[in-house]
């Protein structure tokens, strides 16, 4: 076992890898090692967040109000 956490793994795995991005300073590495897909991952999530809410949810939420009044 080389290290206990994934974070540490990210930081130390650069030693034995020769890709050009890995020779950066600590701060740069945190930013620079962010692969392109990380922003895509947020986009994927945000694209669902931004979808209009289907009627089934609006109906459910309005039903909550009804049950509350009873």
């Amino acid at each position: 076992m080389r290290m206990s956490t994934g974070y540490m793994q990210l930081m130390t795995s650069s030693k034995d890898e020769s890709s050009p991005q890995k020779g950066l300073s600590k701060d740069e590495k945190i930013k620079g090692s962010d692969p392109e897909w990380t922003s895509s991952l947020k986009k994927l999530y945000d694209s669902v967040v931004d979808e209009p809410l289907p009627d089934s949810f609006k109906n459910l939420l309005s039903k909550f109000d009804e049950t509350d009044r009873k």
């Binding site: 793994q9 692969p35 999530y45 945000d46 669902v48 459910l60 909550f64 509350d68």
Partner: protein, 210 residues
């Protein structure tokens, strides 16, 4: 959630508290949908899960502490609903080619751009505990601590899972080599569900890493 099982006095909720709860619950629905979609990959199943989670959250609203994070609280409920459903094999028997085809062929206008659908597919190849960790931290913007609370495991465990998920995705996305391990492959689908059992039963990395 296990913390809530111990008996404690629940404060009386004012009408204002109830209105706040409803408002906050409503606000968090899009996030629940996004998390669920990432977890299970199927929009229809994801929305079913969210509905289930909303019903449970509504029923348990007395246990929500006003002022705390509604998103974190409901994510725990959603996650539990997901794991429970998976363990009950609710979706296992339902697998068939037509369903898979319908889901994989998104309706017009709902198609993800190519790189996003690749990413989504790659995400679904990850073991579920790593997938959820990455979703919470990398997409949902939760801190490691918050994600650890949601998943009921140690912060170090979450960090490890996120790190492994990131490494796996990076290599898949860089090489353009995404294993065919999504819903279109019954054997792979089964393997994913079996892994889920492990996580749901608390025998995932949390148990191994303590």
């Amino acid at each position: 959630m296990s913390k809530n099982t111990e008996k404690r006095e629940l404060p009386e909720r004012s009408a204002q508290d109830k209105r706040d709860f409803k408002r906050e619950l409503t606000e968090v629905v899009p996030h629940l949908r996004a998390f669920a979609r990432g977890l299970c990959g199927r929009p229809d199943m994801a929305d079913d899960l969210v509905q289930e989670a909303l019903l449970k959250a509504w029923a348990a609203q007395e246990r929500f502490e006003p002022g705390t994070s509604m998103r974190a609280w409901t994510f725990v409920i959603l996650r539990n609903a997901y794991l429970t459903d998976m363990r009950r094999n609710r979706f296992r028997g339902e697998y068939d080619e037509t369903v898979a085809e319908r889901i994989l062929t998104a309706p017009a206008g709902q198609e993800e751009p190519l790189h996003l659908s690749d990413l989504h597919r790659a995400l679904l190849t990850l073991p579920p505990e790593r997938r959820e960790a990455l979703l919470l931290v990398g997409a949902g913007g939760f801190s490691y601590e918050e994600a650890a609370n949601i998943c009921g495991c140690a912060v170090g465990t979450i960090k490890s899972r996120v790190g492994r998920a990131r490494a796996a995705l990076s290599s898949m996305m860089e090489d353009g080599d995404i294993p065919d391990r999504d819903l279109s492959d019954p054997a792979a689908h089964r393997a994913i569900l079996e892994e889920l059992d492990e996580v749901a039963a608390g025998r995932g990395e949390a148990a191994a890493g303590k």
